[in-house]
């Protein structure tokens, strides 16, 4: 037994649902107790789907257990076929049905339905959601796809996007456009948007573009072996990775079509002087293996951050992440325990977190800015606007997304530093609303009072500012003055100085230079 409050991944049958819900004309008959339908609302609410997931649950109850759960399953299967007329059915068991040992695959097979019925073996007590999606898609390809003559024009399949995938909708659009510009036709995109008959056509493509290894790698390997379709190994998240991906695709397709990278603004944004303050910002990166790998490269090579730590929750990618961590000279954190993630973040004290919605909450608790780079995510990360992570536009989106919390972080820092300032404090409200006018006269007294108390308290740990040093301090730009004062006092205390002279001020400045 393992005590758990938060899980990064759902059970494997939720992964199978992600495949089924992403597809069309496929139905999933799930042997499951009443209540397991909760998973429907992940799709109808978080992803805001306008139709019910194509899943029929047998909803067995306690009184059925002694009797005929197998009969219940067969009836559900028949009803689903009659009502929805799918091109294929996948059948499987949820965690409870796995224990009662009806064999959904065997049962469905004896029914003689006139469509392919594909049994799924998803070990609920060992594996998780991503495995469920990957395995389900692999079984679909294995059962439905056959070797075929390749298309006349160079074409590829796009593999891996599913329902409830982080930005899968827009990534597919972005990469489809990119391939179009390279003169490559997309044969089938699967599972998202595909029907079982589309899957049957997958063999026609010359190669496969694997967008999400977590949900498509097993199928991509199978296609490589059976249909002689090589697949792309680079996931095009970030400007550098997108360029490498293009090189890889050119090699696989022979395409020499020119590409217009005008729309890639991220690289200039990152070089512009506004971004200088990003240099060396310490970031901690956590999420699924693929997004962490991509984010680490962007953080270091394209944003100029320092990667202070990284890790992933899906053990399937532990080896990859350990390799990356070694390259970055940090410790890899492979865990699905958010308390351990929180502890690590606390110990590392990064200036920014890139993670999942869990890390967003950890960030909030610890007061560290955070941007979301990976599933699991909540409803706000299924946005209405176009916001891919992949390709050139994806790089733009990532730049904006990562920077926003930091700019806000800086604002908050300034607010904090000047919280006693008469016209720039929390109570004053935004200046462009003139909100500070009435309260201004009242709070103008506060800094004076503050000075007073500082002067009074100088008897203890805090050294006394000599008049000359105090004057020098006032020459320092107002927005760093507070920091300078604090640093100087800390330095003076650590040196055992009771008075602060101009020299002390500059000694301290040199000491804290970075």
């Amino acid at each position: 037994m393992k005590l758990t409050v938060w899980t990064y991944e759902g059970p494997p049958h939720v992964g199978a649902m992600r495949v089924a819900t992403g597809m069309k004309k496929l139905h999933y008959v799930l042997h499951a107790p009443q209540g397991d339908t909760y998973a429907d609302l992940l799709f109808t609410m978080i992803e805001r789907r306008d139709h019910r997931p194509p899943v029929t649950y047998t909803t067995f109850q306690a009184r059925d257990l002694g009797a005929d759960t197998a009969g219940l399953f067969k009836k559900a299967c028949q009803d689903a076929y009659d009502r929805f007329q799918p091109e294929a059915i996948i059948v499987g068991a949820s965690c409870t049905a796995e224990l009662i040992q009806d064999d959904p695959g065997g049962l469905a097979e004896t029914m003689g339905l006139p469509i392919p019925v594909i049994p799924l073996e998803l070990p609920s007590y060992q594996r998780k959601e991503n495995f469920g999606a990957d395995e389900t898609f692999f079984q679909l390809v294995k059962h439905l796809a056959k070797p075929q003559a390749k298309t006349e024009r160079v074409s590829c399949n796009i593999i891996g996007p599913t329902a409830l995938g982080f930005r899968h909708r827009d990534d597919v659009a972005e990469i489809t456009n990119l391939l179009f510009e390279l003169g490559i036709e997309v044969n089938v995109t699967a599972p998202m948007g595909a029907t079982p008959s589309d899957i049957a056509q997958m063999g026609k493509a010359h190669f496969n573009v694997l967008l999400y290894p977590e949900t498509g790698e097993t199928a991509a390997r199978y296609c490589e072996k059976e249909f002689d379709q090589p697949y792309t190994k680079i996931v095009p998240i970030g400007a550098g990775a997108t360029h490498d991906f293009i090189t890889e695709v050119r090699a696989l397709s022979g395409s020499t079509a020119p590409l217009d990278s005008q729309a890639l603004r991220q690289t200039w944004w990152s070089r512009s002087v506004d971004s200088t303050y990003l240099t060396g910002k310490r970031v901690f990166i956590f999420g699924d293996g693929t997004h962490v790998k991509a984010a680490a490269r962007i953080a270091r090579d394209e944003m100029g951050f320092e990667v202070a730590g990284l890790g992933c929750y899906n053990r399937e990618y532990a080896r990859d992440i350990r390799t990356i961590a070694k390259e970055f000279g940090v410790e890899a954190l492979i865990t699905d325990d958010y308390l351990l993630v929180e502890k690590t973040i606390e110990a590392l004290q990064p200036e920014m977190i890139l993670g999942t919605q869990m890390e967003r909450h950890i960030g909030k608790r610890l007061g560290i800015p955070c941007a979301v780079i990976s599933a699991p995510v909540h409803v706000q990360d299924f946005p209405a606007r176009y916001s891919p992570q992949m390709g050139f536009e994806g790089a733009n989106v990532i730049f904006d997304t990562w920077i926003h919390p930091l700019v806000m972080g800086l604002e908050e820092h300034l607010l904090h530093m000047f919280r006693e300032d008469f016209e720039f404090n929390d109570a004053a409200g935004p200046s462009h609303h003139g909100g500070h006018q009435p309260s201004g006269t009242a709070s103008v007294q506060v800094p004076a009072a503050q000075e007073q108390s500082l002067a009074l308290s100088t008897g203890g740990d805090v050294a006394i500012w000599l008049a000359e040093a105090e004057r020098e301090l006032k020459k320092i730009p107002f927005f760093v003055r507070g920091k300078a004062r604090r640093n100087t006092e800390t330095y003076a205390t650590s040196q055992g100085l009771s008075e602060i002279s101009v020299d002390t001020l500059y000694e301290a400045k040199a000491f804290y230079a970075r």
Partner: protein, 423 residues
């Protein structure tokens, strides 16, 4: 207020169907129970699915160090490689070491733990002995194979009844977890009526615990407390049957049933209830404007459907087309069924595809349903009110009557405001 119906729905034929049910399991009850019982921890013994359900249903609450968690069964637990009872002891020890403030621990059974017949009852007894007197350990099942949504609260409260101390005192117990603000209003009303001593189940902490005996009478504030009702009767207590306190009429009828039991003079009753009744009527009449002459269709969810349909038809001018409930219990739902105007199809249980067919054919103005159905129905042009909100929001008694009507009116108001259609 419309005149009372010539005949109610108590004897109306009930459509009973079995098939796919689109409902939560009883584990969901933990999400509001752990807020209510402040020194309790709810430990689900189940699978990753259970943990995932709780986190999906609890939303942002999961990040606030909640007092619930899941002991996820692993391969070794199932294969008998590890002694499940020893594993449970270890998990509980780990948990109580981390949360020393916990006084009551509920071991909550799930589908997997029920199917493998993990004896949580024995575990609870053993752990109670281990941690007495600091911590009391109880057990109930919130599994989907046995419980639907709000029945989880019923199972939890029913598990508390047998261990309540005995008393011969004539006391009133009000049963059902209510938001604190509503509970306080209720206590004030009953106190003003001179009714007491008044006890509440569930109590906020183990210290406030109540006693029960042959002179106890009890009233229910929630219609899903069938097992707790039975458990209290087994302890010798007597139930005061009444409609549930939704809307002005429901609240008055509920208070009046209790007042009658305690022989409260009519004049006092009128004096105490007059002002809040007037406020409630006024608030409803304003909030319910969009509901007038509209039809409503209830999918089964929480067992609140029958009393809510009664409120909407009698106080908001709606017509009920179908009132679906996961379970109908005559002793509990009867008084509300008596008041529900004849006409709607009453249904118990569910075959969701067939019920969706009926709903589409009936074309209601408002459909009350779960979150798995709401957006798909909206996309088809149906206005929906998602039902779970009715369990989480303060809706009982006089002061919330206007809010209750507004919850149903909002989707219709919104539909009339939005000018740009989807396509």
């Amino acid at each position: 207020m419309p005149p009372p119906p010539a005949t109610g729905c108590r004897t109306a034929p009930v459509l009973k169907q079995r098939g796919q049910r689109e409902v939560f399991c009883g584990l969901t009850g933990i999400i509001w129970l752990h807020r209510k019982i402040q020194d309790a921890f709810f430990l689900v013994v189940g699978s990753r699915t259970c943990a995932h359900l709780l986190q999906s249903a609890a939303g942002v609450m999961i990040f606030a160090e909640p007092r619930f968690g899941t002991a996820i069964l692993e391969e070794a637990d199932l294969a008998g490689l590890k002694d499940a009872q020893a594993e449970l002891d270890r998990t509980v020890e780990e948990l109580l070491a981390r949360r020393p403030d916990i006084r009551q621990l509920f071991l909550v059974g799930s589908c997997p733990s029920e199917v493998i017949k993990l004896d949580l009852n024995r575990a609870a007894e053993r752990l109670t002995q281990t941690y007495a007197p600091r911590v009391r350990v109880l057990e109930y099942s919130g599994s989907g194979i046995e419980t639907t949504f709000t029945q989880g609260e019923d199972a939890c409260l029913a598990a508390m009844v047998p261990v309540l101390p005995s008393t011969d005192a004539r006391e009133l117990i009000v049963v059902g977890a209510l938001p604190d603000v509503v509970e306080d209003q209720m206590v004030a009303l009953l106190t003003d009526l001179g009714i007491g001593p008044l006890r509440i189940l569930p109590a906020r902490t183990i210290e406030d615990e109540i006693a029960v005996g042959p002179n106890t009478v009890f009233a229910l504030t929630q219609p899903f407390l069938g097992d707790t009702h039975a458990a209290l009767i087994r302890r010798g207590a007597r139930h005061i049957a009444a409609p549930f306190p939704f809307g002005e009429e429901g609240t008055t009828a509920w208070l009046s049933a209790i007042a009658e039991e305690f022989n409260i003079p009519r004049a006092l009753f009128d004096r105490v209830t007059e002002a809040p009744r007037r406020r409630a009527r006024q608030a409803i009449s304003q909030a319910a404007v969009p509901l007038n002459d509209k039809s409503v269709f209830f999918f089964p969810d929480s067992q609140l459907e029958i009393p809510l349909a009664r409120f909407l038809t009698r106080e908001c001018g709606m017509t009920a087309l179908e009132v679906g409930s996961p379970y109908i219990h005559d002793a509990l739902h009867g008084p509300d069924l008596d008041l529900l105007p004849k006409g709607p199809q009453i249904s118990e249980g569910q075959d969701v595809d067939l019920q969706l067919d009926r709903c589409r054919a009936a074309h209601p103005d408002l459909t009350v349903c779960g979150l798995g159905l709401a957006n798909p129905l909206e996309a088809d042009g149906f206005a929906t009110k998602w039902a779970i909100e009715l369990v989480f929001t303060p809706v009982h008694f006089y002061e919330q009557a206007g809010d209750l009507a507004a919850l149903f009116a909002r989707p219709l108001r919104r539909k009339s405001i939005l000018k740009v259609a989807a396509e």
